[in-house]
């Protein structure tokens, strides 16, 4: 747990220091990818509470979900299908669902 927090802090620091900036056109993709990875993290948290946490599933889900979401939005842009909002909705819904389940576990535990 501590290691995860340290990793997060290091990541934020890297992102602040790193001179890389996302072009305006791709900031949409990054936001979808970010949401997808957030969803994966909450999903992983939930599975950890359920004692079903699988490292491979978590890590593969994290990257594949993020990349696929970004890719789909990118392709959708060219087909004039605005998948951006769909992705936002789907991932947002799942995040809130996971949060509710996590909350219930906490309530049961303590």
């Amino acid at each position: 747990m501590i290691l995860a927090l340290i990793g997060l802090a290091v990541g934020v620091l890297l992102g602040v220091i790193c001179p890389v900036t996302v072009p305006l056109a791709y900031s949409k993709l990054l936001s979808v990818a970010l949401l997808a990875s957030l969803d994966s993290v909450f999903g992983g948290f939930r599975s950890a509470m359920e004692n079903k946490f699988d490292n491979t599933v978590f890590i593969s889900g994290f990257f594949v979900n993020a990349l696929l979401a970004a890719f789909l939005v990118y392709v959708g842009d060219y087909l004039s299908i605005d998948l951006y909002y769909v992705a936002l909705l789907a991932f947002g819904l799942r995040i809130f669902q996971n949060l509710a389940i996590i909350r219930r576990y906490f309530l049961k535990k303590y």
């Binding site: 747990m1 990793g7 997060l8 890297l14 305006l24 936001s31 890590i59």
Partner: protein
């Protein structure tokens, strides 16, 4: 506390990637918010710079054309023509005549129009000045040309299609005493206008500026005739 059974390092790595993405997205959003008005400013300043460059270029062209080499006689002829046509500002001794509406109010039953300045009053003054040898004239900053009109436009007067309201300031370059005398002579314009209480102030000056004509010269119908084509 929750414990992940395996892969501490990989989870830390995932968290690091997540934090990195967070920071990146945060910065991108900040930048996006800041950059939109900034882009507009940059675009406008670029356009301003370009327009200024264009203006300087055109100004340079004008200077170049005006100073283009010609014989001295040619240059002098052009300068004289510019002065005569009103394309060049003129200066010299002359008079400044300021005319304003009458301050006396019309008596009952009297025509109020008699107490205000009309286009023909101004025309009379200008005609008198011209007769006295005025070389350059302007009314309220409008140079009088051969084509200038002096016309009643409601409560104002229109000169060179520019309207102006009283008081009218007529500048005339010529011999100051002659010009002044022409206006003030017995039975002259000044005396006639005085009857109606119209205020007329004549001031002589040694160095008077008469502005150049600001409009453009366009001849739609008239064409210059070459000297040899003139039939007697």
């Amino acid at each position: 506390m929750i414990s992940f059974k395996q892969g501490h390092i990989s989870i830390a790595f995932v968290c690091m990637v997540l934090g990195f993405m967070f920071a990146l997205q945060f910065r991108a959003t900040l930048e996006q918010k800041a950059s939109l008005p900034y882009q507009r400013v940059e675009e406008l300043s670029a356009r301003l710079l370009q327009t200024e460059k264009e203006r300087d270029l055109l100004q340079g062209k004008i200077d170049e054309l005006q100073n283009s080499p010609g014989s001295l006689a040619e240059v002098r002829a052009i300068q004289e023509l510019r002065l005569r046509s009103g394309a060049a500002a003129a200066e010299g001794p002359g008079v400044v005549v300021t005319i304003d509406d009458s301050k006396t109010t019309a008596k009952a039953g009297e025509n109020q129009n008699l107490y205000i300045i009309h286009d023909d009053d101004l025309l009379k003054v200008i005609n008198e000045l011209r007769a006295a040898g005025a070389e350059a004239l302007s009314v309220n900053g409008q140079r009088l040309l051969g084509t200038s009109e002096i016309r009643c436009a409601g409560p104002t007067l229109s000169v060179n299609n520019v309207r102006s309201a009283p008081p009218y300031e007529i500048r005339a370059i010529g011999d100051p005493s002659t010009l002044e005398g022409a206006l003030k002579m017995r039975g002259g314009v000044a005396e006639t206008l005085k009857v109606w209480g119209i205020q007329m102030d004549i001031r002589t000056s040694d160095n008077l500026q008469v502005p150049a004509y600001k409009g453009s010269f366009q001849f739609k119908y008239a064409k210059a005739v070459r000297p040899q084509e003139v039939t007697p």
